[in-house]
């Protein structure tokens, strides 16, 4: 992973000192709240329902074990002993005091972390495939490019006050595990017919009030032009994006208003002025940064008894078998894998982990992995580069922690925003509903039988729970002061990104779990062969599901 050098260290320390000064000026009244708000947002600090919330950046979802322990320490010393991992691979702390935030930023800087630009109308955390560098299907490791984009976008002076937030994601796998189709800019690494690797560039995707799948603006962008092309897109957006209405200020609105062809023309016109200029990344700098992500050296595994051991245990231990079926991901090295640690369970807000759990996971990553942890879009954690021979021992450790009972990609693996329990913007709670739904599908065998099914819950139209991109999406609304929930079907986040469709009138919270069950039962009744829920929905259309919902 990227290693900070002296300049990087000095940078985050100075940034923390700068924020300390800004807080002092705010408390003394030298900065008004209007002036201070963008400044604190650009250090990830929100004012939420009960307290301030701090969103710490986890660049493209990569953490060292030391950093994860550092975050545990912050949870313990400055918060209430837990943190929440988000759909943008960051971590949030919910009980922060403004006056303590400078100390928190100092502490973060001591282990090479920060909260720079995790909020505000600027370029946010660049996200990527949580299996990057370990995936079996990737063209090359996208993280070097993520780091290049991160540095280019950090304190970029021209783009610190955009019309609205700006989110970039990079994917290099055949499967898009970074939801690039729902980002302001999505970059998919591709190979052209000459065998060169470059970027397919998508623009104008997003969730929120007006969900949109990103459209293609460039078929093949050579690597050397990455930064100049991004500058051109950002410049067109900075000048032409709407600033009169925050609900119409994202780039997706601009792309739709202009049409993708006119938008492309505007970007190319701008790009022609700046390509081959100082904006381009020098080869030496590119090599320096990409060099940090050379393929990892993995110890050779000589003993292959583990294959038989695992196979035997799978036959005798149902819990282990279910865990192996869903939480183990293919690695480019045949003796290795990546392991999902599901942060989804009864009585656990999706994506939450306690300080103790974070430390235990850091220990496991060091003992059995390569000391690295990844944060996933689905609000889980992954330990990459794990020798398969360790899987039984890792399962035992996780089971003792109560972290072995959830399966990636099944109905229990819900994405949920914090909702009205924490968030100032929310209309309804999401966490109690997630818990109720998990309880209804509490049987692991049943979950396995249902198969791959993405269920996402958002507490308001801002859609931070990505309900638009789910097989089953749930949107909390406020109906005359009462929490109600709308159901959508047919969303997808990957290669074939799609926005779900609303089924009909909303439900009261108490009726939602049964409604979800009716949808699932309809699928189980009608599915053919080994169809997934998504396949059945495509084949049958929404009619039978709608009918059972409102029967």
């Amino acid at each position: 992973m990227y290693r900070y050098d002296q300049l990087d260290h000095a940078f985050v320390k100075a940034r923390a000192a700068q924020f300390r000064n800004q807080v002092e000026r705010r408390l003394a009244g030298a900065l008004s709240e209007d002036e201070f708000k963008p400044l604190r947002l650009q250090n990830g600090l929100y004012l939420q329902l009960h307290a301030y919330m701090l969103r710490v950046a986890i660049p493209y979802g990569v953490l060292s074990a030391q950093q994860l322990r550092g975050l545990a320490g912050i949870a313990r010393d400055f918060d209430r002993g837990f943190g929440h991992f988000t759909t943008r691979q960051n971590i949030q702390f919910n009980w922060i005091k403004l006056v303590e935030t400078p100390d928190i930023l100092d502490r973060l800087a001591s282990f090479d972390m920060h909260a720079i630009q995790t909020s505000g109308n600027c370029i946010r955390n660049v996200t990527s495939d949580p299996l990057a560098g370990a995936a079996a299907d990737e063209l090359e490791d996208p993280r070097g490019w993520c780091e290049i984009i991160r540095q280019w976008s950090t304190l970029h002076p021209e783009f610190a006050f955009l019309p609205r937030k700006f989110k970039i994601a990079v994917s290099a796998g055949i499967d898009d595990r970074a939801a690039t189709g729902f980002h302001d800019i999505g970059l998919r690494m591709v190979k052209n017919k000459d065998g060169q690797i470059g970027f397919r560039v998508l623009v104008g995707g997003g969730q929120g009030r007006t969900p949109r799948v990103a459209q293609q603006i460039a078929t093949f962008l050579p690597k050397r032009h990455l930064l100049s092309y991004l500058e051109a897109i950002l410049r067109v957006y900075n000048q032409a994006g709407r600033r009169d209405n925050i609900y119409k200020a994202r780039i997706k609105i601009l792309v739709e208003a202009m049409g993708i062809d006119a938008f492309r023309d505007a970007v190319e016109a701008e790009w022609n002025k700046i390509r081959e200029s100082a904006v381009e990344l020098p080869d030496s700098e590119r090599d320096r940064i990409v060099g940090y992500f050379a393929p990892i050296d993995l110890p050779i595994i000589t003993d292959s008894d583990y294959v038989h051991d695992i196979s035997t245990r799978r036959q005798n231990d149902r819990a282990f078998d279910l865990w192996m079926a869903r939480n183990i991901h293919a690695h480019w090295h045949p003796d290795y894998c990546s392991v999902t640690i599901s942060l989804k369970a009864i009585d656990r807000p999706p994506g939450d982990a306690s300080a103790h759990e974070m430390e235990a996971i850091a220990d496991i990553a060091e003992a059995f992995g390569q000391g690295e942890i990844r944060v996933t879009y689905e609000q889980n954690l992954i330990i990459p580069h794990m020798a398969k021979q360790h899987l039984p021992a890792v399962f035992n450790r996780l089971a003792k922690l109560g972290l072995a009972g959830g399966e990636a990609g099944l109905i229990g693996d819900m994405i949920a925003c914090p909702g009205l329990d924490y968030c100032n913007l929310a209309n309804a709670r999401s966490l109690p509903l997630a818990d109720k739904i998990f309880r209804r599908f509490d049987d692991a065998d049943r979950r396995a039988d249902i198969g791959a099914l993405r269920l996402n819950i958002s507490g308001c139209i801002n859609a931070c729970g990505h309900h638009h991109a789910a097989d089953i999406g749930i949107l909390g609304v406020n109906k005359k002061g009462v929490e109600h929930y709308q159901i959508t079907l047919g969303g997808q986040a990957g290669e074939a990104a799609a926005v779900g469709t609303i089924m009909g009138p909303s439900f009261e919270e108490a009726d939602v779990p049964a409604a979800i069950e009716r949808i699932v039962d309809t699928y189980m009744d009608l599915r053919q062969d080994n169809e997934t829920f998504a396949d059945s929905l495509t084949r049958l259309g929404t009619a039978p599901f709608k009918e059972s919902l409102y029967a």
């Binding site: 705010r26 939420q48 009960h50 301030y52 209430r80 006056v99 982990a353 309804a428 002061g481």
Partner: protein, 120 residues
């Protein structure tokens, strides 16, 4: 019977984000039960005092909640009054060992957690 234009004033403390309500003495309290109801005659001085306190960098995000059984007993205001989420996050549970499957919510919410938060 409160009149439809009666209000409660609420805000967050600037330095730590703690939720506050304005009392009858035009001071701020973190205790929801001590929130004063201001009628049309008193609302203006309450608002003026709130603006003063915001300008004095004590509070932020002031807003008025109508005392009408809906707004003041909305899910949002009840959660704010309870000072915490209606579901217990992982830190409050035992660090190791089996996790009880008995459902429980934050004590203040326990009575109402299974009921839709309708107005009275």
């Amino acid at each position: 019977m409160p009149k439809t234009d009666d209000i409660i004033l609420t805000a967050n403390r600037l330095e730590d984000g703690v939720v506050l309500w304005m009392t009858g003495k035009l001071d701020w309290t973190a205790d929801r039960s001590r929130a004063a109801i201001f009628d049309a005659d008193n609302a203006q001085s309450a608002h003026a005092r709130a603006e003063q306190d915001a300008a004095a960098n004590r509070i932020v995000s002031v807003y008025a909640v109508a005392v009408n059984g809906k707004a003041d007993q909305s899910a949002r205001e009840m959660i704010r009054a309870a000072k915490g989420p209606s579901i217990i996050p992982p830190a409050d549970k035992p660090a190791c060992g089996s996790i009880s499957l008995d459902r429980y919510f934050h004590p203040v919410m326990r009575r109402t957690s299974d009921v839709s938060l309708r107005s009275a």
